[in-house]
Amino acid sequence: MHLRLLGVLLVLSFGVAACGGGSTPPAGTPATQEPSAAPTATVDPATAATVAGKITLEGTPPANAPIRMNADPACVAANKTPQTQETFVSEAGGLGNVFVYVQSGLTGSFPAPTTPLVFDQQACRYHPHVFGVQVGQPIEVVNSDATLHNIHATPKTNAEFNTAQPIKGMKTTHTFTAKEADVVVPFKCDVHGWMNAFAGVLDHPYFAVSKPDGSFSIPNLPPGSYTLAAWHEKLGTQTLQVTVAAKESKADANFTFKAAAGAN
């Protein structure tokens, strides 16, 4: 009898182990995230620095392309005013929707936030249009529209995906598992050709998206020398060398883009 019980327990334990029951990751940790070889970096709040600056757009901002939504009555109904693309968002000489990030100079690895980043489809537009996400951080894609969307991401390093969201309120979670070689991953909706967005995928949390006035701030940065990069969907990438001392608040990490370069 005891032998039979022992046999049953052995079979059960083998089955559980074979199903991966013994290696369930803790809640909130993406199962597909690769362990990093670099040691986890710790940032001392007492010495952490901040890099801030402004993205300036030199010249008259090119007009954003108008959007015709008449291919989908639900999109027309959701937008009472004529819509344009968000390529150039500019206030007071600044340039918004620029993804600013630390390109090099960091050491160690940085644990990804477990809080999902919400990426919404509302009124047949993506919100936000440009955002940053850390490798391993879940992205919660939400369909807030009364129409069908497909979420089609075309990364170079991570796996391409194309997900259907036919029902309002539907949520889907995606997680990038590797740092993107080109940093920025385009998103598009093939149903509504005007819908596009860009995600900067990095293995650290030191990034920001500029506001319409061009201002940005990257806090909690360990003291050191870094290459800062600023990426715009039409105007390309610029870099800047910055050095911050302990507790320093550097406010002159400025970039200037020429509007004429995006006129075509």
């Binding site: 291919a71 639900a74 129409t147 194309n162 259907a164 036919p166 093939d190 149903v191 509504h192």
Partner: protein, 320 residues
């Protein structure tokens, strides 16, 4: 006669399917329905019409028309199997059915794997082959083929030049499909010049495939000129050759003009799609001319009952 009419209907439906497929690519809607064979989780045939919006209209519409053509082809293959005495015609019917099934599978695979160039190009290439099969079936079941009132031409040179032209047109369509599915349609942005000259100042895979398509257009035009010229000078009295030759000449001129306007309009959807469809019609015209140039070889088999062996007729006998 009814089989011939039905085969023409299948050919016409296939043209409509090529229009729909061209629109899918021209509007960039290939992935507007991410799943296959379902559509956003619905069975393809129960997908609500109210959701046929934006890119879904083109992609799902293409799937529905493809299903319709598939059904028509099943009936066609069955009809041929029952009505035809020519064994090779039965085989042709089955091959058409196999092609349309494979075509559907390729369409699904290219969606599920995010439109890889090789699969999408194969999908476009097989579409042309299937269309050619339906056109050939319509021709082979026509009264002009089964009971011709004329003696078929027996011209070796015509057979050679027409067959070569058809092969060139098909290759040109494959190059064009490769260009189309590798986003190289505007890799060379000016026309008729190439970056202001004759040759590209630099070579990338996209520029190379685009340039190959332009060179291919020149070769095809020369080949068609040779074929049409041969018909014009040697068989002008034969309406069965003159008509497809005239159609071929008109279509290739329209096709080159459309190609130019694809560049000048920066891939206007209607022009881009028309370029795909006229390409298919050009191929079909050349195929009809080619098959008619070979008709004399089929003459002995035209009305032979299945299973009855008869000696092959010589060309002079066929004319008699």
């Amino acid at each position: 006669m009814w089989l011939h009419r039905y085969a023409k209907l299948v050919s016409a439906a296939t043209v409509l399917l090529i229009v729909a497929g061209g629109l899918v690519t021209s509007t960039g809607s290939g992935l507007a329905v991410p799943d296959w064979p379902t559509s956003y989780g619905w069975n393809m045939f129960t997908f609500p019409m109210k959701h046929m919006v934006g890119g879904i209209f083109y992609e799902h519409g293409h799937r529905l028309i493809a299903s319709g053509v598939g059904f028509l082809t099943i009936v066609l293959a069955f009809w041929i199997w029952r009505a035809e005495r020519r064994r090779w015609m039965r085989m042709l019917g089955l091959m058409a059915l196999g092609s349309v099934c494979l075509q559907g599978a390729l369409g699904g695979i290219t969606v599920l794997y995010f439109l890889p160039t090789a699969v999408s190009t194969a999908h476009a290439g097989l579409a042309q082959i299937f269309f050619c099969m339906t056109v050939a079936i319509a021709l082979f079941t026509s009264p002009g083929w089964t009971a011709p009132k004329y003696s078929p031409a027996d011209d070796h040179l015509l057979r050679l030049v027409a067959t070569t032209t058809t092969a060139f047109i098909y290759l040109q369509i494959i190059v064009g499909a490769t260009m189309r599915h590798s986003e190289a349609g505007l890799a060379i942005p000016d026309f008729p010049l190439v970056f202001g000259g004759i040759f590209p100042p630099e070579w990338t895979p996209q520029i190379a495939i685009h340039y190959a398509h332009r060179v291919g257009a020149l070769i095809v035009m020369l080949a068609i000129a040779a074929t049409v010229g041969h018909v014009w000078f040697h068989h002008a009295q034969r309406s069965e050759l003159r008509k497809p030759a005239l159609a071929l000449a008109c279509l290739v001129l329209a096709q080159v003009t459309l190609g130019a306007f694809v560049i000048w309009s920066e891939k206007n959807v209607a022009i881009n799609t028309a370029h795909v469809v006229v390409g298919a019609l050009t191929l079909a015209s050349s195929l009809v001319l080619t098959l008619r140039s070979h008709q004399v070889r089929f003459s002995d088999r035209a009305a032979r009952p299945m299973g009855v062996q008869t000696p092959a007729l010589t060309a002079s006998e066929a004319r008699a």
